[in-house]
Symmetry: C2
DNA sequence: ACATTATTTCGGTATTTAGCGAAATACAGA
DNA sequence: TCTGTATTTCGCTAAATACCGAAATAATGT
């Protein structure tokens, strides 16, 4: 999952992850602390979910977000892949432009 | 340096890094293999240099790019900081939006 | 000084991203 | 079913990013 990097490239999203590291939180709680609109937050959550960095659990009307620490392993492996000595990155799919 | 993530978020840039892992290359060599314009490549190189992921060395008219593996350590530390158990990330500077 | 080669900067367009507020959806309780 | 609360989706705008080709810059050799 390469777009973990994209997910991590936003300061707002990194902040969300840092908050989630401390404890699970609902979207509303996070929105309050970050003075960013809830709709904007929702977009960030989608990015984080797509990257599999957070998991959600619904409890009534509220949805609680939790950090998915297991993905980090994959990410570190990916980084090690780029900078390490294996030869897997040649198959990283060309961008297919022109 | 947080924008290492931004630098790594582009598939083209990851590919450049993977190529550079194999051997040092000039901008022209990389441009040939990636079928992306040289001017575009130049932009990517700036991003990679800003993130300190590559170093350059001029030899006559050609500039050779090399991978700067030492930055990876910092990056992994940053990742560990977000997902680990220290409490440093609260100080990640608020985005100063509104 | 001129020509050649390598790389970058410049001007431009198209796509993506972040952000907002308002409306829509989802759920639970009365 | 209606109300209230929580979250997401829907236009929309502004800023950033990627891309190109052409022109400019840098370095070297003649």
């Amino acid at each position: 999952m390469a777009d973990v990097f994209h997910a991590l490239s936003s300061p707002v999203r990194r902040k969300i992850l840092a908050m989630l590291k401390a404890r699970d939180m609902t979207a509303g709680e996070i929105a309050e602390q970050l003075d960013v609109g809830k709709s904007t937050l929702s977009g960030h959550f989608n990015v984080l979910k797509s990257a599999d960095l957070v998991t959600t659990e619904r409890s009534g009307t509220t949805i609680t977000y939790s950090l998915n620490t297991s993905v980090v392993e994959e990410m570190l492996a990916l980084v090690a892949g780029i900078f390490g000595t294996n030869d897997e990155e040649g198959s990283q799919s060309n961008d297919g432009k022109a």
